[in-house]
């Protein structure tokens, strides 16, 4: 480490003007590097203008749903850091989401703290749980998947059974609306902006992170743990930190969720939630920050779309109307199909198609030469 610093000093001295140029702010370069982020922010900024009038005729409450997309994008991007980049599966991430939701809900609805205190506390508590549960990362592959699944179930049971704290199946009611220190956010549009400002900041930070030394270390340990360790990457601490970060992002999203909904109960944080989160990551694209946003959007809008179908088509078959009953099954099928036919996910697949002219589809039935 000392080596590195000394060399860097020499290097900067030798290439003085150049090193300084890197530090100076360069507007065109900044715009170019962050084009996607800026374009997406602009898209979100103007969204209420065109989406609100469309909501009625389409029968889909677009802005109302988009608030939730923002929430799920935050937790999905965190899960993508862990699963997509660092390659550590978590099938229990709904637990952190639930922990965040309950923390902020209880602190504000029961203890009477302001919302803007509740949310950071939720992040902190989720982070602490992340630290406490991080030792499961000693496990690998299927064992890790099983352990995190169990983790999700255990925390779900705690939420349901610790009635003195969580209210059990009755849940927590009258959770206050989102708020800033001197400003209550009451309109749907206000909530939409509140959530998305936080989400975009989180996305920007995560996308910086994955394109850095830390992100490279995550991807390296995903691809070969032995090689990463031998190249000087402290693998186990890197995994743990990533896990804690993704837990904290889960807690943040959960807290926002609680304040948006105004009411939470344990069943909202069951295994189905964890599975949906994994679906968002997988379908959007592993190792893709923006893919998570896309996945979150797709999975959140899907049930709304199905609900709206009767308006468009008139009569729909009975089984379509009861979609929510078998939503889990549909998610499962989506995961399976994505994994089999398009393992890189939709966004990465599209990038592959456009940039590398490589079809994102794989033929799983083709015989491979030598593996």
């Amino acid at each position: 480490m000392r080596h590195g610093r000394r060399e860097m000093g020499e290097d900067a001295a030798a290439k003085g003007p150049r090193a300084r140029a890197i530090e100076a702010f360069n507007l065109p370069l900044f715009l170019k590097r962050n084009a996607l982020l800026i374009a997406f922010s602009a898209f979100i900024m103007v969204m209420p203008a065109w989406a609100s009038p469309l909501s009625k005729p389409l029968g889909i409450p677009i802005i109302l749903t988009m608030r939730l997309v923002g929430v799920y994008a935050i937790v999905a991007v965190g899960l993508n850091l862990l699963m997509g980049y660092a390659g550590q599966v978590s099938l229990g991430h709904g637990a952190f989401f639930g922990i965040g939701a309950y923390t902020s809900a209880l602190l504000t609805a029961r203890a009477g703290l302001p919302v803007w205190v509740g949310i950071p506390c939720a992040v902190l508590v989720a982070l602490i749980f992340g630290v406490l549960l991080a030792p499961v990362l000693r496990l690998k592959g299927h064992y890790l998947a099983m352990a995190t699944l169990a983790m999700g179930i255990v925390i779900f049971v705690f939420m349901r059974e610790m009635t003195w704290l969580t209210g059990g199946n009755d849940g927590v009611r009258n959770i206050p609306d989102l708020a800033l220190p001197f400003l209550k956010v009451t309109t749907t549009q206000g909530e939409f902006y509140y959530v998305w400002v936080i989400a975009i900041v989180a996305l920007a930070l995560c996308s910086n992170l994955v394109n850095s030394r830390v992100g490279r270390a995550m991807r390296a340990l995903h691809q070969s743990e032995v090689a990463a360790e031998a190249m000087g990457v402290p693998v186990s601490s890197m995994k743990k930190r990533t896990f804690v970060l993704s837990a904290a992002l889960g807690g943040l999203a959960g807290a926002l969720f609680a304040h948006l909904q105004g009411f939470i109960d344990p069943n909202q944080f069951s295994i189905l939630l964890s599975i949906s989160l994994v679906t968002m990551v997988v379908i959007g694209g592993m190792e893709s920050v923006w893919g998570s946003v896309f996945g979150a959007g797709l999975i959140t809008f899907l049930p709304k779309l199905v609900e709206a179908l009767p308006r468009w088509l008139g009569d729909v078959p009975d089984w379509l109307e009861k979609y929510s009953n078998y939503e889990g099954m549909v998610l499962g099928v989506i995961i399976m199909l994505t994994m089999v036919f398009m393992p890189s996910g939709i966004t990465k697949g599209l990038v592959d198609l456009v940039r590398n002219r490589r079809s994102p589809f794989v033929n799983p039935f083709r015989r491979k030469a030598v593996d």
């Binding site: 910086n208 850095s212 030394r213 490279r216 360790e229």
Partner: protein, 266 residues
């Protein structure tokens, strides 16, 4: 202070010293009381038939396995029990017998992972893109290209590592190891799978690396390469040292001929 006290008994210029190291897996003793020294600036070869314990020896030296008994000193410090990434940071780098690159990362990124311990921007610094992380990133990119230049891959910086032809993958592994700025480089069968031309080039690269002040140890089956580049040879068989000396001495050692070279050297 124990390590320091022992250090005084090393001969001048000893970089790595293994004493009586032993490692068994179940009933099989893969490495049996092997002792050797590597001097600063050496190119040393370790040879022996398949299953002689060469790769296990590397795994012991780099901390992947912990020896059952024995001591390993690197630069005078006891390194037994340290995790591999710490040993790498102290200055031992290695390549693998079966190439273990990060295939989905670019060639330059592979090398930049090797520079992990030479940089220090953490999660927060990287997420916020603070000046430190931007400075390091720029430095790493230049350094990565300079390192790739040593093995002649500087033009392939943006290709995916997994898409390189096999020979270049071996060279990339070497570059990645060099990126850790090692004092000692352990090469595990670097010439296997290379054609004659590539092997000759590899020999030149090994000399170049040594001239950079890096001590090189190579485990190798290609006797042409071993005889050409190495100054000292250690011969293992069934986990035990059976001979040690200059290539000429090894060539004529009856035990070595019996165990290993018999069919190759008349």
């Amino acid at each position: 202070m124990a390590a320091g006290a022992t250090a005084t008994s090393f001969s001048e210029g000893t970089l790595l010293c293994a004493r009586e190291i032993t490692k068994s897996f179940g009933g099989l003793t893969a490495v049996k009381a092997v002792s050797f020294e590597v001097h600063e600036g050496d190119i040393k070869a370790i040879i022996g038939p398949n299953g002689a314990g060469k790769t296990t020896l590397y795994d012991l030296l780099t901390g992947i396995y912990r020896p059952d008994s024995g001591a390993i000193y690197f630069g005078g410090k006891d390194i037994v029990g340290l995790p591999p990434h710490r040993i790498t940071a102290m200055g031992i780098a290695r390549t693998f017998q079966t190439v273990r690159l990060f295939p989905e990362m670019t060639v330059a990124e592979n090398v930049m992972v090797g520079m992990h311990h030479r940089t220090r921007a953490g999660f927060t610094t990287c997420a916020l893109k603070l000046p430190l992380s931007r400075r390091e990133e720029a430095w790493m990119k230049e350094e990565a290209l300079a390192t790739l230049d040593i093995v002649g891959l500087e033009m392939q910086g943006d290709s995916l590592a997994g898409s390189l032809p096999f020979g270049q993958q071996r060279l990339l592994e070497l570059a990645r190891a060099l990126a850790t700025k090692p004092r000692l480089l352990l090469l595990d069968e670097p010439a296997s799978g290379l054609n004659a031309y590539e092997t000759r080039e590899l020999g030149d690269i090994i000399y170049r690396v040594r001239d950079m002040g890096i001590t090189v140890v190579l485990v190798e089956h290609d006797m042409g390469l071993v005889m050409r580049v190495s100054e000292k040879v250690l011969v293992l068989d069934y986990g035990e040292t059976i001979a040690e000396g200059t290539p000429e001495e090894i060539r004529s050692d009856p035990r070595v001929i019996e165990a290993y070279l018999g069919s190759e050297v008349d």
